[in-house]
Amino acid sequence: MVDLKVKVHDLEFKNPITLASGTCGFAREMADFFDPAIVGGFFLKGSTLKNRDGNEYPRMAETPSGMLNAVGLQNKGIDYFIENIYPEIKDYDTQLIINVNGSTVEDYIALTEKVNELDKIRGIELNISCPNVKEGGMAFGVSCPGAEMVTREVRKVYDKTLIVKLSPNVTDISEIARAVEGQGADAVSLVNTFLGMAIDAETRKPKLSTITGGLSGPAIKPIALRMVWQVANAVKIPVVGMGGIMNAADAIEFMLAGASVVQIGTAVFKDPTLPVQIIKELEDYMLHHKMQSVNDLIDCLQM
């Protein structure tokens, strides 16, 4: 048997294949297709302190090898999650990580304090990179002082695993990664979506209600992979990698570039059972390459 276990700070994952925030709902939607215990974990839909209706329809535009979204963090707020969703999913035998969003530092802190009370949530993914909400999120993630400030303040109130999710919409992503590492982040995850745009030539109108939106899917993979590799070389903390992963080979590439855990995002829209297949293919790959532990892949790019 091959050993698929990996660790990100204190968080143990039974395997490195997890699902990305905003593309796996609150895990229970995926349970309609497969046993949640099979995968390493779920990064749950972005939560905010209060209810958010999100942006107006249309929020989606298909693009070559990917899509743009402008969902804008629609969610019913953390209290609704705690009362109505958490009880239903807390006994899933897998890691559940909450994706935390705010428009002010106070929001991030208040939200984190509430999440801290939940026994089965052993980590948060601090989203400072959502391109689809005007008030902030990405405002913090695109400058070192902004990223440092949120990370520092949240760190003060949170002892469990703190993963900071980075925006690719910056000049130098490793600089931001180093900045959050310096303020006590336990890990970084990347990439969030790339700011993009689509226009309908027939109607001469933008395809999204917000005009611009976040690009995801295989179209972004080479850039995401490059960024994961750069960041892994720049920081000592673990890296969670994502961006256009469609199969086991893609996942392995991200691990070789330095990711300890990978997230499958947009690809599940095409095939919701894909994470299960990727785990199986990862095992086959390791057997074929006579590898005992998946840790022998992480940051093991042969130069």
Partner: protein
């Protein structure tokens, strides 16, 4: 693997195309066969179909279920050519595999045995109306179907449904049935209150016009929406429709909605 198969409520599987035939210039009947037993599938529910061999098409395309045959495990859909994806799908040859995510969405509220119902379909919305007519279990005298299209040629042949319902047609040029939109048809303008339930699926404008009149008449009315979708199973929140319960997902909370829920 075996364990989750049993707990799964929705599935992803390859089906074999067993039939693909044109119904008219733009509509095709596509029948696909599964090699496993189909779950129960109800009128209003849909499948999300992968489009093979296309470089530009990344996402699946949703189509309403038109017919289910549990004896030979087949699902049929009526595909209207709209853009690249639907076009490509209508070119698929029998024998080829096609991947479906199924069954998705919620069904129409079934009529009770004494109800008198009116089903209104237009454009790509004909399939779920015909499925409902067949499944309703009502006597033909209780069911009126009203179908709208631009011309006679745009209508598909549904005469075989005359055993389930009274068929009425509207065409914009008057080449079949009454001239005008479905909302100008005598069946619709005479007295809606004689119906206990109205169901509609078709272009947005048609459904809104129907909803407005049904609401004013105080008649129960459900519509099936066709918002753009990315996932089809409730995780991306791209397909939302504003309702009096907030933004709901058309793919999981719908596609069928009671008009009183909608902000129309």
């Amino acid at each position: 693997m075996r364990k989750f198969k049993r707990m799964a409520k929705k599935f992803v599987a390859d089906f074999v195309v067993v039939d693909n035939k044109p119904l008219n210039a733009t509509n095709f009947l596509i029948k696909v066969k599964s090699n496993s037993v189909l779950p129960n599938i109800l009128p209003g529910q849909f499948v999300n179909v992968e489009i093979n061999d296309s470089k530009e098409i990344f996402l699946r395309r949703p189509f309403s279920v038109f017919e289910v045959d549990y004896n030979d495990n087949t699902i049929s859909m009526i595909v209207k050519i709209l853009g690249r994806g639907s076009k490509k799908l209508t070119e698929i040859e029998p024998g080829r595999n096609v991947s479906l995510v199924y069954p998705l969405g919620k069904s129409f509220t079934y009529p009770s045995s004494t109800d008198k119902v009116l089903l209104i379909g237009g454009g790509s919305g004909v399939a779920p109306m015909l499925f409902l007519a067949k499944e309703s279990g009502l006597d033909k005298t209780q069911v009126d179907i009203l179908l709208g299209a631009r011309t006679k040629e745009d209508h598909i042949d549904v005469e075989s449904y005359s055993k389930y319902a009274n068929l009425h047609y509207a065409t914009e040029d008057g080449s079949l049935g009454e001239k005008g939109f479905v909302t100008q048809h005598s069946v619709f303008i005479n007295d809606l209150t004689k119906y206990d339930k109205i169901y509609a699926c078709g272009p947005d404008g048609m459904m809104r016009a129907i909803a407005k009149v049904a609401k004013a008449a105080g008649v129960f009315c459900e519509v099936s929406l066709e918002n753009l979708m990315a996932c089809g199973f409730g995780v991306c929140l791209c397909c939302i429709e504003p309702t009096n319960k907030g933004n709901l997902c058309v793919c999981t909370d719908g596609p069928v909605f009671n008009i009183n829920e909608l902000k129309w």
